[in-house]
């Protein structure tokens, strides 16, 4: 699509609650991952002792480099992890509550009817389609990404609780296949978070740098006419 010749008036895109939640979450998640890797380093294997584990772990037995860890030792990692879990969960809940109360979720939740637009959007990105498909605040692929990441956050928190209290919350642990598998899924969410974040940041700078400013100031002055 063409760049606008006439400067578009700035649009208010993100509420303060969303911006604070976004940046707080970015910092907290980084701390959660680093302290989590510190904890993982205490026993860098999956499965019960003396048993076999059916799923692959390319990082089995691998030491985690110092720059990727937080806490200094296992106890420090645990204390960071269980302290940061509070802002991680609270930020997530406040964000979801905000989306629910304001109706903002409508612009973000990926629904079955977004499937077609998502395919058209992908074709546009692959340059197999010339026209930028019409969209609301976010395009269908963005909706997919933002719905996915919220579900991933929920999955990381739930698998976390399952391995934090595998006896008291045994119903939750069994939902994920028991303690050992829940610990594995918890670890898998880390790498999906890392991959998502790298892609997310790359797309911001490559496709729409103005969206970064929008997430800081709330105002969008970019080239995508992504507003009704």
């Amino acid at each position: 699509m063409e760049s606008a010749a006439v400067p578009r008036p700035p649009v208010k895109r993100h509420h303060g609650i969303v911006r604070v939640a976004h940046w707080l979450n970015a910092i907290v998640l980084l701390g959660m991952i680093a302290s989590g890797l510190q904890i993982y380093g205490a026993f860098s294997h999956f499965g019960i002792r003396g048993g076999t584990f059916p799923l692959p772990n390319p990082l089995d037995g691998k030491p985690i480099p110092q720059w990727g860890r937080l806490g200094g030792w296992l106890a420090g990692g645990l204390n960071w992890h269980f302290a940061l879990a509070w802002p991680f969960v609270i930020t997530g809940l406040v964000y979801l509550l905000f989306l629910g109360l304001t109706g903002e979720w409508r612009a973000l939740l990926f629904r079955p009817r977004d499937l077609g637009p998502a395919v058209r959007m992908q074709l546009y990105y692959l340059k197999l389609r010339k026209e930028h498909p019409p969209q609301g605040k976010h395009n269908a692929l963005q909706k997919g990404a933002y719905t996915f990441i919220v579900l991933l956050g929920a999955l990381s928190a739930l698998t976390g609780f399952a391995i934090y209290k595998p006896v008291q919350l045994s119903w939750l642990a069994s939902l994920f296949g028991g303690y050992e598998l829940a610990r594995y899924w918890h670890f898998v969410t880390v790498w999906i978070f890392v991959g998502f974040t790298l892609l997310h940041v790359a797309l911001v700078f490559l496709v729409d740098p103005a969206s970064l400013r929008a997430m800081i100031t709330g105002w969008y002055r970019g080239r995508f006419p992504s507003h009704e």
Partner: protein
Amino acid sequence: MSEPVHRLTRRDLFRLGLAAGPAALVAACGWDGGPVLEPRLRAFSRINDWIGERVLLSPRRLAREYPVEARTPPFDFPSYSITYNRTGGFPAPDRPEKWALEVGGLVRQPLRLTLEMLQAMPRVTYTVKHHCVEGWTAIGSWTGVPVSTVADLAQPKAEAAFLRFDSFDSDYYNGWDLTSAMHAQTILAYAYNDQPLSAMKGAPLRLYSPIKLGYKMTKYLTAMTFTRTRPGGYWEDQGYPWFGGV
């Protein structure tokens, strides 16, 4: 031709901020929080202890039991000992024939229980999963006397709020909340996989409970003391979560 003038624009400052944030975070990695944050993190951990004990712990929920076929091969089920780490040898009581468990503190009836006396009491045997704070698990069978049975004999006073378990493994000890200690599966164990405890597993008597992490289960027991104030613990005093329930 004039030199281009470099001026720090708002955009430059903004980019600097973007670069400085991750750099500071990378520098912080491997960090325990330092003298200011580390004690605060420990204090915060007490909130999680409270949630663990008062919200998430059910006094009556039993940990799942497994068939004996599910036992982890004993060779694959490690045990840690402070004395072993220091000397390479497992701890042993000074005079094994004189060993007895002292039950005291805030009780009406202090007790001195020999292994024979404990073995004569009603016993519990279960095959359960062990959760280590490091993240590993193992399954084993344990036989012993519920702590609550011994407590009934000693009759703790109303002001008793905690239990302290001492050992002859260097300075190893643990403090327990009473709810966890009186749980039906919290036992003073003298047998592992149907055999008397080995020196590695905590002979002659150790604490065992499938509702706590391994480091809460004092091995090589010498005393069980009811207290008014909260006892710490060997690892707990160094920063590990005090409650340690699973």
